[in-house]
């Protein structure tokens, strides 16, 4: 839509003077489409190959030397084997609990600190803000080993806590929420204050609904980060019943490399729900990634 609106005036402006250019335009449009479609095909082929191979029982014994995109023996056999040998339902439950709680906590703590930094007046505000911001420059990998020992000392390894606690607050979310809340007019908050609302109530009932788009952006990014993380779960959980989907997939992939069909069925079960969710939410997901400029 916006493309059309942007291009329309330029097109009409050039058309009278350069009518002879139109076939060339048409040809270059076609060439662009062909290149882009070929690229898209390359992006899709591995997914399609994985899906069709996962449906082939024979793939566990021998694979065709020329790849086939339709199995001669389509069945759900590999899925039955994969679901029988891996507690994939449990992995999903673990991922949902961990991703859900970290995201809820991260949004809440980012928003409430962001509110204080945007609208609060208290001594030491800029110093505290610098403390929050400085965490942006500390990569997780720098602190992972002492963090692991800390979790072990607290007796939290092999618990959900170890997967949740380190990711509840951070500089990035606080910064993003402060920016969003700064743009809310002071008069709105002052009016609520005069009506006798407490600061928390103002935060909960006025500020949070007004920055819903930023919360959605931050939430989507955090879900992608936490869902895909494998380094930290590998360190703090060795109990199979606590594996996340990504971790379970990584360990299954490393141990059962021979049974191709089963391994790919496992991968499909780990990827497919995320892709389906993405197809419904793609507009918001892409917007989130672009607007914050942060990679998932």
């Amino acid at each position: 839509m916006s493309d059309l609106v942007q291009q329309a005036p330029a097109l009409s402006a050039t058309r009278p003077a350069r009518r002879f250019r139109l076939p060339w335009d048409w040809a270059s449009q076609l060439a662009s489409m062909v290149v882009l479609a070929l690229g898209a095909l390359i992006m899709l082929l591995p997914f399609i190959w994985m899906l069709t191979t996962s449906l082939s029982r024979k793939a566990n014994q021998s694979m065709p030397r020329i790849p086939s995109f339709w199995p001669s023996d389509p069945s759900l056999f590999n899925y039955q084997v994969a679901a029988g040998s891996l507690p994939i339902g449990q992995y999903y439950l673990n991922s949902l609990v961990v991703v859900g709680l970290t995201t809820a906590g991260y949004l809440f703590f980012s928003a409430i600190a962001g509110y204080a930094f945007a609208k609060g007046r208290f001594p030491g505000k800029s110093l505290l803000f610098i403390v929050f911001l400085s965490t942006l420059f500390i990569p997780f990998e720098t602190r992972m080993i002492p963090l692991y020992h800390q979790m072990a000392a607290l007796g939290l390894t092999n618990t959900y806590w170890a997967l949740i606690l380190p990711f509840l607050a951070g500089g990035f979310g606080t910064f993003l929420m402060r920016q969003a809340i700064s743009s809310i007019p002071d008069e709105l908050i002052e009016a609520a204050r005069i009506d006798g609302a407490t600061e928390f109530r103002i935060f909960w009932q006025i500020v949070l609904p007004l920055c819903a788009p930023t919360l959605a952006t931050l939430g989507i990014l955090n879900i992608i980060w936490r869902w895909n993380d494998v380094l930290w779960p590998l360190l703090v959980t060795s109990d199979r019943n606590l594996y996340t989907v990504t971790q379970g997939l990584a360990l299954a992939g490393r141990s059962s490399g021979i049974k191709v069909g089963v391994a790919l069925a496992t991968a499909v079960m780990a990827i497919l729900p995320v892709i389906i969710a993405y197809l419904f939410l793609q507009r918001y997901v892409i917007r989130s990634v672009v607007s914050s400029g942060v990679k998932g």
Binding site: A40, P123, T142, G171, N228
Partner: protein, 314 residues
């Protein structure tokens, strides 16, 4: 709680109200601040401390000075891992940025169909690096993998070994790991460059068209320079991500980066030293070096980026 009028009348009451208001803000900051100090600040300081100490029997620690840094900098495996990380990062960014710029430019000029194409190119980005690596482990399988099968179908008889070949070559394990990363990361780079393209004001193009510039000239002299901030941003964040690479390489080759450590990254080195060999001090020294490199990259790109923008303003 107190009626407002009385607070306004007496000086003490109003000071109490102001104090309470200030305390409310602290109560908002305190829980996240404690979480950050406990789970980010404390372990980061511990990393620095551990790199200067040696842990002996029963948690007794002795000061070691720069001993662990000396061991680190003479450790061939560390240099190998650092070399791999830099090589893989440079190769990835060197391929993905021009490719994404070209595809984004095409996407920006096609009049229809760009929405579904964007979704398709972005698809791998949603798939965890672990799942991508698992899938590509089979795509690169020499005997029956998708890639070699495709090459055979095209008539190539001498097919490469890809992930089974640890040598430094365009068809070895590092090349395979780079192709995998490009496939997985392309969509993100396209989307960000596309956003940059769409923020270039149209009247610059109209002016260029009036001056008689052709499409390619316009692209080279107007589009690419206008994308400079986008490219700097992508190189900066892309470098930091490349330095921290772990999930896909671990899935392909374990913490040792098989075959023959050709895929071991710095983070995998830290992981292996700290958890498999139990050499926490060496891992901590590596973590400090890693931290300094990431900080330097961030600082240089901030400086390059902001320096240019400030000059432009002046």
């Amino acid at each position: 709680m107190e009626p407002k009028s009385s607070a306004n009348r007496s000086g003490f009451g109003s000071r109490l109200t102001r104090l309470r208001r200030t305390l409310v803000w602290y109560s908002f900051i305190l829980p996240p601040l404690l979480l950050i100090l406990t789970f980010i600040g404390y372990p980061t300081l511990q990393t620095f401390r551990q790199s200067f100490f040696t842990r002996g029997m029963g948690n007794a620690e002795t000061f070691a000075g720069l001993e662990h840094y000396g061991r680190l900098l003479t450790n061939q495996i560390f240099w190998g891992a650092l070399g791999n990380t830099v090589l893989l990062g440079v190769a990835f960014l060197g391929i993905v940025i021009p490719l994404a710029a070209a595809l984004a430019s095409l996407l920006n000029r096609v009049k229809r169909g760009s929405a579904p194409l964007k979704v398709i190119y972005f698809l791998p980005q949603l798939t965890s690096s672990v799942a991508v690596a698992l899938m590509f482990n089979y795509v690169f399988q020499p005997d029956w993998g998708l890639l070699n099968g495709g090459l055979r179908a095209l008539g190539v008889t001498e097919v490469p070994l890809w992930l089974a070949d640890p040598r430094l070559s365009f068809t070895g394990s590092r090349a395979a790991a780079t192709l995998l990363a490009v496939w997985a990361g392309l969509g993100y780079f396209i989307i960000v460059i596309l956003a940059g393209l769409q923020s270039i004001p149209r009247d610059i193009y109209d002016a260029a068209a009036l001056d008689g510039a052709n499409g390619l000239q316009t692209w080279w002299h107007i589009t690419l320079p206008s994308l400079r901030p986008t490219f700097i941003f992508l190189i900066m964040t892309g470098t930091v991500d490349a330095l921290a690479r772990f999930g896909d390489l671990w899935t392909l080759g374990g913490p040792g980066g098989a075959p023959a450590r050709s895929l071991q990254s710095v983070v995998m080195f830290m992981f292996q030293q700290g958890f498999e060999s139990g050499d926490v001090s060496l891992a901590a020294a590596a973590a400090v070096v890693f931290f300094i490199i990431v900080l330097a990259v961030t600082a240089v790109s901030f400086w390059a980026f902001l320096g240019r923008e400030f000059r432009a303003v002046r």
